[in-house]
């Protein structure tokens, strides 16, 4: 079966061999369900197109793909998330996860466009700027990540569910990436804040959480994210001097 990752790569004409592209093309011609799924995906992806977003270089794109695979693998291995039946493309979690992944791509694309390389989880080798200043590209990428997190948290249905938990695990994965990036980019204040978000996100991901507790945690995160964004917008270069 052709999954949505493959369809996404097909849409972007990226990462598939000629044979794989031919296989997708042929399947789209013969499988009406797949064609409908691809149509919906294309509409969703075209809505997210951002002509001003700088493209990441191919080698960094490959690392990004790898990091997504690892994140997905790690999510699949997470014991606390109960797996449910067949994959539902139109489920909230998939839509949210795809949005989150693309947002991460945009954020990392912005960051990479500044000629820096942030560490990707699991020990992939990195190049890090040795300067004491915080790269502007990192700050911009972080702002995108925080805004997306804010949006995703605000869009979460009130009732805890497996879908919510899966999306929150995605946010946690991205949060960890930016926390490591912050650490490597002279931003210990940002790194501490991102680390402080994780226990709250983990509690939110708990499927047994009461709706009123989830609401309180989301309100807390919304406040802290807003303050962080305001601070970043106010003085993006201050970080290096405040520790």
């Amino acid at each position: 079966m052709i999954n949505n990752d493959t369809l996404t790569l097909y849409y972007y004409n990226d990462g598939l061999t000629d044979d794989e592209r031919n296989h997708v093309e042929s399947a789209l011609r013969s499988d009406t369900n797949l064609a409908a799924r691809y149509g919906a995906l294309s509409r969703q992806l075209s809505g997210w197109n951002d002509p001003e977003t700088p493209a990441a270089p191919p080698h960094l794109l490959a690392r990004w793909h790898d990091s997504i695979d690892r994140a997905a693998q790690s999510e699949n291995n997470a014991p606390e998330i109960e797996k449910t039946g067949p994959f539902q493309f139109f489920s909230f979690a998939w839509g949210g996860a795809l949005a989150a992944t693309l947002a991460l791509g945009v954020a990392l694309g912005m960051f990479f466009s500044g000629n820096d390389v942030i560490p990707i989880p699991d020990g992939i080798p990195v190049e890090v700027t040795q300067s004491t200043a915080v790269p502007a590209s990192f700050t911009r990428g972080l702002q995108v990540h925080l805004r997306e997190s804010q949006w995703e948290l605000a869009s979460l249905p009130a009732e805890a569910s497996t879908d919510n938990a899966q999306l929150l695990m995605q946010i946690i994965e991205q949060n960890r990436m930016f926390e490591r990036a912050a650490k490597q980019n002279n931003s210990p204040n940002v790194a501490r804040l991102l680390r402080a978000f994780e226990p709250i996100l983990m509690r939110l991901a708990n499927e047994d959480i009461a709706p009123e507790d989830a609401e309180a945690l989301r309100a807390q995160l919304a406040f802290e994210l807003n303050v962080m964004l305001t601070k970043l917008a106010r003085d993006p270069s201050k970080e290096a001097h405040t520790t």
Binding site: P188, R192, R195, A196, P199, F223, V227, T230, T242
Partner: protein, 299 residues
């Protein structure tokens, strides 16, 4: 340039919310206070600090005070840290825990060090919050001190677990010789991905129970070198339980190449059957190949 109006807005909003207009609902008033606090982040620190201090001392809900504590953690003034520390030591319940978290976020070394005194006299929740604050501040040395001086196993276990989450392999290695604490350490080695410490314990057959725990820990770490080590353990032991532990860890580590190799090398039909079942459970491509070979061989 627009700071004065902002300060006036914040003060007015807090005043208005504080005195509570009759027709306004309590929720609206609460939200207004929170919005006012959020706006404070744009004010100069020396102007924001007294307002936050006043909120903390006033008759506001825990939610509003918690938000004020967060703003305090973002104010780069020593007085802000002092207020956080006072709140962490004098308050109780959620506000105390929140103040401790904010000290972690603030990351000031002196304030973090002062948390140790609160830790010693705090209850379980306070101790756990302080460990989390050290995690947020990435202060593995402070967590190590707590683990090294732990007065009971639970306290040691919590601190060691935190070191594992922090990936503090050096600090964990220093705790290796503590009596009766190997199980907690093994968990922490697994969480921190410390392959080498686990390998040493997993290949030591003097205590099979401990050996099996370490073998399980290896499966969590995963990776090719783990697979090779598990194979060696499987082949070198005569203990059936250790063998079973090794092969199950290969399954958890998704090392089907190793299981396949053991299957092909085995001369024991019972063992071959068990290994084949394992390959099927692992959803390995090799399982179908073997089934095909086995059925084809009988024709």
């Amino acid at each position: 340039m627009h700071l004065l109006p902002k300060i006036l807005f914040v003060s007015l909003a807090l005043f208005v919310a504080n005195t509570s207009i009759a027709q306004e609902s309590a929720d609206d008033a609460e939200q207004l206070k929170i919005a006012a606090l959020e706006a404070l982040i744009s004010a100069p620190p020396d102007r924001a600090l007294p307002i936050v201090e006043k909120v903390l001392a006033g008759d506001h809900s825990d939610e509003v005070k918690s938000r004020a504590l967060f703003i305090l953690s973002q104010i780069d003034l020593p007085e802000a840290q002092a207020i956080l520390l006072t709140t962490a030591s004098s308050q109780s319940g959620e506000l105390q825990l929140e103040a401790i978290r904010m000290i972690g976020i603030g990351g000031d070394p002196e304030t973090l060090a002062a948390l140790r005194g609160i830790y010693d006299t705090g209850d379980i929740e306070v101790k756990e919050s302080i460990l989390h604050a050290y995690l947020i501040a990435d202060d593995s040395a402070a967590v190590f001190e707590i683990a090294a001086n732990a007065v009971d196993d639970d306290e040691f276990e919590q601190a060691v677990q935190m070191l594992g989450v922090m990936g503090a392999t050096d600090e964990l290695a220093k705790l290796r010789d503590r009596d009766g604490s190997t199980e907690s350490l093994i968990h922490a080695y697994a969480i921190s991905g410390d392959y080498e410490s686990l390998r040493v314990l997993a290949t030591d057959s003097s205590d099979p129970e401990q050996q099996m725990q370490a073998i399980h820990g290896l499966s969590i770490v995963g990776g090719e070198q783990v697979g090779t080590t598990l194979m060696e353990i499987y082949r070198s032991t005569d203990n059936a339980e250790v063998k079973e532990s090794a092969v199950h860890s290969m399954m958890i580590a998704d090392y089907d190449e190793g299981v396949l190799e053991l299957y092909r090398a085995s001369q024991d039909s019972n063992e071959k059957r068990d290994l084949l079942q394992l390959l099927v459970m692992m959803d390995s491509e090799a399982a179908l190949q073997i089934i095909d070979e086995t059925l084809g061989g009988g024709q």
